[in-house]
Amino acid sequence: MAMTCKDVWREVSNYIDNTISPEMRHELELHLSYCRHCTAIIDGVRNIVVLVADGRLFSLPAGFSARLRARLDKELFS
């Protein structure tokens, strides 16, 4: 039986993370071939995953390591 949009949404993560069976991947890609909404959802989610994994996001504040070291020096090693 063909996958519905809801079935696709449930498998979004598995599809993007490549933790999906070959059969399921085939079914899902079949659905994507005619459903532009689900294609847009997958593209959008993949986009987020790539961007968020980029180290420029949530980077350590400048001077973090030095302040950490100063605090540990003071409280543990002095």
């Binding site: 979004v12 968020v52 949530f58």
Partner: protein, 216 residues
């Protein structure tokens, strides 16, 4: 005396053994690879750079004091993340004693369906967009808006790149729960950013400045 070269080669367990037998300054080498991870864990709950930094420092202090109890059943990184999340939870309790939404108690069923917006025209956000502070802030604000239990999973999995099994172990939930929360988080993030994508805020302005637009 080439100390750095020697230290680089020490394994975590060797570092821990030597710290516990008195070479306490090796603690800096042990924690250096985990500074961002611990900070991000604190940020995932506290949303505030100063509070998160304080919390990360507390977590590293606590980890040092409890190092003799670290048995190596879990990875050192996961152990640190758990400590950081606990510290952040305690800080949060103090900050919003009455509003606290427990990390362990799901207020909504995991089985509720999340229906993503079906926006037809999502264009790719170029990763150069991240060079713009505005874009980074937009993404970080979207993460902040996720419900807490989705946000923590999202931060551990996507930002820190931990796998499902380790994330589940850290949070004390099943792998299935981690996966469900991650799907929700990802779809909600996409939906929150969709308006920004639609009106072009996530695209580099220079792309539109050069007069090379093929449709003109």
């Amino acid at each position: 005396m080439g100390g750095v070269a020697i230290r680089v080669m020490l394994s975590e367990s060797e570092l821990i053994r030597r710290i516990l037998s008195g070479e306490r300054e090796l603690y800096y080498d042990l924690i250096a690879p985990y500074e961002r991870m611990v900070y991000i864990s604190a940020m995932s709950l506290l949303h505030n750079e100063t509070e998160a930094e304080d919390c990360a420092q507390d977590a590293f202090l606590k980890a040092f004091c409890h190092l003799p109890e670290f048995k190596g059943e879990s990875k050192f990184g996961s152990w640190l993340v758990r400590i950081a999340l606990n510290e952040a939870k305690m800080k949060l309790r103090k900050m919003r004693a009455d509003l606290y939404d427990s990390l362990d108690k799901a207020t909504e069923g995991e089985d509720d369906e999340y229906v993503p917006q079906t926006l037809g025209d999502w264009r790719e956000i170029p990763s150069e967009a991240l060079e713009r502070k505005e874009v980074r802030e937009l993404l970080q604000k979207a993460v902040d808006k996720l419900p807490e239990r989705y946000r923590i999973v999202f931060m551990l999995r996507e930002v820190q790149g931990l796998d499902v099994a380790i994330t589940a172990q850290i949070l004390g939930v099943s792998k299935a729960v981690v996966k469900t929360r991650l799907v929700r988080a990802r779809l909600q993030m996409k939906d929150m950013l969709a308006p920004a994508v639609k009106n072009g805020r996530l695209f580099s302005r220079h792309l539109f400045k050069k007069g090379k637009n093929p449709w003109l």
